[in-house]
Subunit: 203 residues, 2 copies
Amino acid sequence: MSNSLYLGLVHYPVYNRKNEIVTTSITNLDLHDIARSCKTYGVKTFFCINPLESQNILMSKIKDFWQTDAALKFNSDRVEAFKILQYSKAIEDAKKMIMNQEGYDPIVVTTTAMVVDNQIAVNDLVEIQENINRPILLLFGTGGGLVKDIHDSVDYTLLPLNGVDNYNHLTVRSAVAIYLDRFSSEKYRRNYGYSSSVRKGKS
Amino acid sequence: MSNSLYLGLVHYPVYNRKNEIVTTSITNLDLHDIARSCKTYGVKTFFCINPLESQNILMSKIKDFWQTDAALKFNSDRVEAFKILQYSKAIEDAKKMIMNQEGYDPIVVTTTAMVVDNQIAVNDLVEIQENINRPILLLFGTGGGLVKDIHDSVDYTLLPLNGVDNYNHLTVRSAVAIYLDRFSSEKYRRNYGYSSSVRKGKS
């Protein structure tokens, strides 16, 4: 039985601007922002998923720096966040690592800014996990987003984040933060939404 | 009567790591991420608040590029997002610009990762705006966050974003995204939280 949450930032297979399937390169700031969001919202491991060995080396260099004494002195919060960061060659490898760690296959869930078939809301996902008691692997695409085949092959896809108008172009860093906040809000404060009984202004 | 939302990213007065009051420099990526979140969630103007003329020039250069034909060809979504970005020397100037534009003084609201006096929840703020019918100016601090005097001088301060454990070190880019999502969810989907009647898995 496991209600753990895992997150994967996918660099392949994703679309580029021309709708071609590509491998994107790792962005230093993605790692920082997303590691901190993951650490804040209790994600167990943040997988940086990229098939290229050169990118594995790049990520390791960044990660290694954030384990040094210099880094610890400079900003211990970042050191703490980077501890949950882990390289993975492919989505399948991340799934295997979760299986090994938890003893259960994860429920694999994709995110997208698009409308695709059978998308579910965040609270649905929380309910599903409560019923199934398996870990979740939540996947985010870089570049122009995860390719269709990936959405088709996973267990669920979350509904896109809709803003106020038609503009819907959040960065992946922002999208991760919002989905994690929604998931955590649904999971730990179900039925309370964001409401609070505190209601005092300043005079 | 106005229910507009404005956002200010404050570079002074904020704390540094040593709790000294400083001016931080503008970060290119803050502008990109936050402009896109603001545009997604219907923020009318995103004020980049910094007292230094050199930083005004820097911001203008970035903004000017995102108005060129080259930028439009490269990524029209970013061009769209940057249209709502505006420089402001100080919080007071941003307030005046809103007053001029709307005919009403804004309700000024700060955010913080700290616990301070009389913090309110996002849904409280939505209710307050519905009752008062004035624009909101939502302020975020860079660096180590807004100084105490600013929190003391504004109308309201929002409750901090709490994660799962004690770790609470989101980047300002992530915090902006989450607060805007919460505000928008409360304002436009009140009582619905993130729930959805859609509940279909993939087979």
